[in-house]
Amino acid sequence: MTIQAARNEALDELLEFHWMMDMIQTVDVGIVVFNRNFEIKVWNGFMEAHSGLLPSDVRDQRLFDLFPDISEPWLTQKVKSVFDLRTRAFLTWEQRPYLFKFRNYRPITSTAPFMYQNIVFSPLNSATGAVDHVCMMIYDMTDAASAKKQLLSFQVKEAEQEQVKP
């Protein structure tokens, strides 16, 4: 009886783990986990779909080998505080439009040439309390960015027209 109960519990946990993983896979936010050496441990469905790289292609590969456009000294400096101070680090699309050059989600009706991204680096505590991994979350900000850019260009146009008037 008790063995049976323990078995059921273990099975439940396994099933739960399964749908939790599924959730990480399908959520519409890019999730990448890497270690201090920038070797990739998690690469979710969002990243797979947009980059065309399978999780098996990227696992244990260094981020900089897969994406040579990303500057290693720059990102290392950025992530240093996340590992050392356990604070989050942020990148906004205003600061740099993207880290991964992905195609726009709506290639037909949107005019943006690529996906604008907001990125968060968050420390992950291991069982021992040390921070050995960092979770990077990539948000699609294309709509907000295009709207703001449109608004800006409209304001500039208006200001120019004001100047033309006597």
Binding site: S81, D84, T87, R88, Q95, R96
Partner: protein, 330 residues
């Protein structure tokens, strides 16, 4: 309108004095960092009333007073000093000062001195004092902020390899219109860039505001070992890095003491190269009073001025007070 000149080498002190000026005193406020600047300002009619510190570099308060006396400059001087020896008081009065106030200055005392010398009509009926923060509670917030700020400063120092000059945290209940006053040490002529970031947890919510004066960027780039051109994009990058570290560590320090955790939203750029006024008024909303904790950091040997303001919503205070209750127990 009365022009008031506040002369003190300490930024915190200048700000504190400005904040203590009665709200119904119709005045234009100017600042000077030492006696020479003050004399120049008086000559430009920027100092009908001079609030003067004694210990300052370049030209101290005593010298300033004797210059004013010799040249018969059109100003009245009230000395505000930490030097409370009777001798000091007597000396400044002999040199022509009309009164002497002890540091740290408080609003009530400054008010009564101004009334005494008729800079202000004494009218009890128009007393519309904003409700002040309970003294013990303020002290408590100040202490908590102090610890959090120390941690944030330490983190900044370790990442950047610099010595961080720690300020005295300023804790106040303010209204939105007062927010720009709070940041008034950022020179009115100087442009600034800022980001804000929302945070919440356990029924406590608020926003962190990080404002960096534009003149800080070249030194900041040196510290962060950035090579290449310091263009707008690079400045934004530096601002984000500083903001992430300061806001992140400061919030974590606060949260630890309150035994909770804050979630942080994504930071939003308030604006680049704007005056502080523009920065804030462009983002003004309908909030009323907030609890504001202001920290202004400087880096030794560098021209870097960075203000961090943590603003808590009014309804968060109840929860915070409850969480801080254990610190208040005897």
């Amino acid at each position: 309108m009365l022009s008031v000149l506040i002369c003190d080498d300490s930024l915190v002190a200048r700000k504190q004095v400005a904040k203590c000026l009665p709200q119904d005193l119709e005045s234009r406020i100017h600042f000077a960092k030492h006696g020479e600047e003050a004399l120049d300002a008086i000559c430009e009619n920027k100092g009908d009333l001079l609030l003067l510190d004694l210990n300052m570099p370049v030209m101290d308060g005593y010298e300033t007073l004797s210059h004013i006396k010799q040249q018969d400059l059109p100003t009245k001087t009230i000395v505000i000093s930490g030097d409370i020896q009777p001798e000091a008081k007597q000396r400044v009065l002999n040199l022509g000062a009309i009164d002497f106030i002890q540091k740290p200055v408080n609003a009530d005392e400054l008010r009564s001195v101004l009334e005494k010398h008729q800079f202000l009509k004494s009218d009890a009926s128009i007393k519309d004092e904003p409700e002040a923060l309970d003294e013990t509670l303020r002290d408590c917030y100040q202490e908590v902020a102090n610890v959090a700020m120390g941690q944030a400063g330490d983190h900044l120092a370790r990442i950047m390899n610099v010595f961080v000059k720690l300020p005295i945290p300023n804790v106040n209940l303010i209204e939105v219109s007062e927010l720009h006053m709070m940041l008034s040490d950022v020179d009115a002529h100087e442009s600034t860039s800022g980001v804000c970031q929302g945070f919440l947890g356990d029924g406590i919510s608020g926003e962190a505001l990080c404002v960096l004066s534009d003149s800080s960027f070249s030194d900041m780039a040196k510290i962060m070992q950035v090579k290449g051109k310091i263009d707008d994009q690079m400045q934004l990058e530096l601002l984000m890095d500083v903001a992430s570290i300061l806001i992140g560590t400061c919030l974590r320090g606060l949260a630890n003491q309150l035994d909770m955790q804050f979630r942080q939203g994504h930071p939003v750029v308030l604006g680049q190269h704007q005056s502080v006024q523009e920065l804030i008024s462009a983002n003004k909303s309908a909030w009323r009073k907030t609890l504001a904790i202001e920290l202004s950091y400087g880096l030794e040997g560098f021209n870097v001025q960075c203000d961090l303001v943590l603003l808590f919503t009014e309804d968060s205070m109840e929860m915070m007070n409850a969480k801080l209750a254990h610190l208040l127990e005897e």
